[in-house]
């Protein structure tokens, strides 16, 4: 190795994959979809009706009270759910986990049911907080179980999580049944933004704030993804970073659950697509995951609103179908790359 006098190397080979063109494209796509989302609905809200200043200003009112909140909520929920999946995958070092395959969502749902029973009139803040605390417990339990049961095969880890979620879900259903709350439970388990309006969605901003937290701590999460030994060698407090990640995941899960209900697959699919495109360096991945997550949710919501117009179908159904197809594609692709 004649590397005694290393010369500054020409960076002819790109130091890292860049996808600037694609990035711009995805950004524009999000903007277009968001604008479209503002103008789709039963009532007539269109640029024309807004500009013509229709008689009583209903269009403007609807835009501010319902359409803008809905679109903002969709963007924030999509972005943050993607991030929750990404962070979870870094913590567990497994690409097949996200809040809904690890029991976190089920725990948060149990928390929501608990507040509905114990403190029926609780404000949304309280509900979100309780759900977040339960979600945190769920993350903790899952990490414990995964640690205690040394699972060799990567795909078995989410199976453990799904089993855990199944148990907690069963308990929740049992209580909901006994307390005549199955209807509420059904509503939470079907994510939909139909009920989103001004004054009733602001909690997704907390989820949005968690995206910022994740971005600030991005390098720490990358290092955690290398494993405890590397992280310790690099001077990181492994446990503390894991704790921060758990809070991020739990808060996002709870905030979205309270606002819209369960949206499956998103946290699984989006980070995996991004991982294929640009890899797992969290700082580089975060903007992609956030924007693609938002694109997927806004697009699916538009489909949910238009496919049976003037009725809506639950967003979770559309996301479920799209997500499942994407996930299958990812699995097959991974296999064909033969690792």
């Amino acid at each position: 190795m004649t590397a005694l006098h290393p010369q500054p190397t020409s960076t002819s080979t790109p130091a890292r994959p860049r996808r600037t063109g694609a990035g711009v494209l995805v950004g524009v796509l999000l903007a277009v979809l968001a604008v479209a989302s503002l103008f789709i609905g039963v009532s007539d809200v269109s640029p024309v009706s807004l500009l013509s200043g229709d008689s009583d200003g209903t269009a403007a009112f609807l835009l501010v009270a319902s359409r803008i909140p809905r679109t903002v909520a969709l963007v924030l929920a999509g972005a943050s759910l993607g991030i929750a999946g990404l962070i979870m995958q870094m913590l567990v070092r497994n690409k097949f986990v996200e809040p809904s395959t690890t029991g976190v969502t089920e725990f948060a749902t149990l928390g929501m049911l608990g507040t509905t029973v114990v403190v029926p009139g609780m404000a949304v803040v309280g509900k979100t907080a309780v759900a977040a605390v339960f979600g945190l417990v769920g993350t903790w339990v899952f990490l414990r179980v995964v640690r205690a049961v040394p699972v060799r095969q990567l795909v078995l880890v989410p199976l453990v999580g799904i089993m855990l979620g199944g148990v907690v879900g069963a308990v929740t259903t049992f209580f909901a049944y006994r307390l005549d709350l199955l209807q509420s439970l059904m509503q939470w388990s079907q994510g939909s933004f139909a009920g989103v309006m001004q004054g009733r969605y602001e909690f997704v901003w907390i989820a949005g704030a968690m995206v910022v937290v994740a971005w600030v701590a991005a390098d720490r999460f990358s290092v955690i993804g290398l494993g405890e030994e590397f992280a310790t060698n690099l001077g990181l407090d492994f446990r503390r970073v894991v704790a921060v990640g758990m809070v991020v995941v739990a808060v996002i899960t709870a905030a979205v659950l309270v606002t819209a209900g369960l949206i499956p697959f998103l946290g699984l699919v989006v980070p995996n697509v991004v991982s294929l495109l640009i890899g797992d360096n969290v700082r580089r991945a975060i903007p992609w995951v956030a924007v693609l997550g938002a694109v997927l949710v806004v697009a699916c919501d538009i489909v949910a609103r238009t496919v049976r117009f003037p009725y809506e179908i639950p967003l979770s159904v559309v996301v479920g179908v799209v997500g499942a197809v994407l996930f299958l594609w990812l699995l097959l692709r991974r296999r064909s790359r033969a690792h």
């Binding site: 994959p17 070092r93 497994n94 991005a218 390098d219 405890e228 310790t232 060698n233 690099l234 890899g279």
Partner: protein
């Protein structure tokens, strides 16, 4: 110096490191040898604050590893473990960049970038810097990990079996590099080796472990004797002088 004072580690009643008191990491290269299961990796784990001792104390430059801030230690001591599996899809450049983490905490300065470039050039990884780790051969990946600890730019560098996965040429090159790191960059390198001939050729000092104890600790040449090696490995080893250097013959 790295010092262990009466350090003991047990796993489920089995004593893996047995009341070891030793100080190592002087100038130059130290080789740590010993049979499988002797406790070499555990010793590195104890120094690298990954394994908590059941008794005793480990210090690096007088700083107790149990109480000193992890970041402070990460600027003095880099440890590369024996088996490294990175599941995340990271490029070689990403990995080497994370080596700067103890200094940069994520915000790279010009100096950080220079260290990264130097480490990549040193390990001849420039052509692979944009590749994902899962797109490299085992040896290339091993070199990427070594580049990472090199970028960490610590006084002490602990390498656990760095020759894993390397072919003949790269084994020699890595050992030469280890030597250069000591001679030209002033690093104190401690490395676990299984090939005692590499240890004899490139190390100044050899520490031998067996069943959790240090059984030999001397200049390389003095350890390269049939009776010492036989006691360490429990097998007969013939040592011949070739071109004035001791060479152990243990191929049967």
């Amino acid at each position: 110096m790295i010092a262990l004072e009466g350090v003991t580690k047990r796993y489920a009643g089995q004593t893996v490191v047995d009341d070891v008191s030793i100080s190592f990491g002087g100038e130059g290269v130290t080789a740590l040898i010993g049979p499988n299961g002797a406790g070499k990796s555990t010793l590195f784990g104890l120094v690298g604050r990954l394994v908590r001792p059941d008794a005793g104390r480990v210090t690096v430059d007088g700083l107790d590893v149990a109480t000193t801030s992890s970041q402070e230690l990460a600027r003095r001591l880099a440890v590369l473990r024996q088996d490294n599996h990175v599941a995340a899809r990271l490029t070689v450049h990403d990995l080497v960049e994370f080596g700067r983490f103890p200094h940069s905490r994520g915000r790279l300065t010009v100096a950080d970038r220079e260290h990264i470039e130097r480490a990549i050039a040193y390990l001849e990884l420039d052509a692979y810097r944009g590749r994902f780790l899962d797109e490299l051969s085992g040896g290339q990946r091993q070199r990427a990990f070594i580049a990472m600890v090199l970028a960490q730019d610590t006084e002490y560098v602990l390498l656990d079996e760095p020759l894993n996965n390397l072919d003949l040429r790269h084994m020699t090159e890595i050992m030469r590099l280890v030597r250069e790191m000591a001679d030209q960059l002033g690093k104190r390198v401690v490395t676990v080796l299984h090939d005692v001939n590499f240890a004899a050729t490139y190390a100044d000092r050899i520490v031998a472990m067996r069943e959790g104890r240090v059984v030999a600790d001397a200049p390389a040449r003095e350890v390269m004797r049939p009776e010492v090696l036989a006691a360490v490995y429990d097998t007969t080893v013939d040592v011949r002088e070739i071109d004035g250097r001791p060479v152990a013959l243990y191929y049967g």
